[in-house]
């Protein structure tokens, strides 16, 4: 039995300059950078591209050092699940350590981190439409 994972929701590319890396991917690969934002709380600089169902998230620090060589690496991935509470329970029952689902940056979404056993991949699960969206009328 699985955990109801539907697709790779996003892949995180970590770097010391997310804007430069996103632009290089746009130039080299022809992908469109759809959105840029500052992550609330950490002030990390983020840029996003989307190919079909998968988001590429370019993540970098708040401050960019202009003289520093730009370096990036594939960092981690997030899978979308149908029911995050059930998915977390299922993984815990199989012996995996998983954090409690918490409110994600994405509106209405909850996210939980799998801690270990993922072959070195920082790994999380996300469920959309898990919470009421603030400010949305019924």
């Amino acid at each position: 039995m699985g955990i109801g994972a539907t697709h790779i929701d996003h892949i995180v590319i970590s770097s010391n300059n997310s804007g430069a890396v996103a632009q290089t991917f746009a130039d080299n690969l022809g992908i469109e950078i759809k959105r840029k934002m500052i992550r609330p709380g950490t002030s990390a600089q983020l840029a996003f591209a989307k190919l079909q169902e998968v988001v590429l998230e370019f993540a970098g620090p708040p401050e960019v050092k202009p003289d520093e060589e730009v370096k990036a690496k594939l960092w981690g991935m997030v899978l979308a699940v149908e029911d995050i509470d059930a998915a977390v329970s299922e993984l815990r029952a199989k012996g995996y350590t998983v954090g409690d689902p918490t409110k994600a940056v994405q509106p209405g979404a909850k996210i939980a981190t799998v801690k270990g056993g993922t072959s070195g991949v920082p790994f999380a699960l996300i469920q959309y439409n898990a919470l009421p969206i603030e400010g949305a009328s019924s």
């Binding site: 039995m1 890396v21 290089t24 370096k71 990036a72 072959s119």
Partner: protein, 137 residues
Amino acid sequence: MLKKIHHVGVVVHSADEAMKFYRDALGLKVTADRVIEDQGVRGVLLEIGGSEIELLEPTRDDTGVAKFLASRGEGMHHICFESDDVDAELEGARQKGIELIDQKPRLGLAGMICFLHPKSNHGVLVEFATPLTDGHH
């Protein structure tokens, strides 16, 4: 034109061990499991939505995957973008002056594939793939 993320490659010490999480715990379906002798890797593809996760286990010590594992440990290794025409993608990259690993497409687990040099993308290894018409395995 790049259509989608075909797969993301994860280098592992043991594909069997890694499948305890990706196959058994997550419940992902294995769509290919093959040793590619000339590349010195065992590759396992697991389906997730319209993409796949590729587990790469080195089968000898003199390959790029083995060296990656020795120097960085297990983790994400490359990202593969699917195209209808891998030859055109490779030629387009060449015309842009992008440094290449493969000068022409070759047969891989995902179909006809080629790799761009990670220097071209600030250290991120990028693959292009066109699945074979009779399935990519």
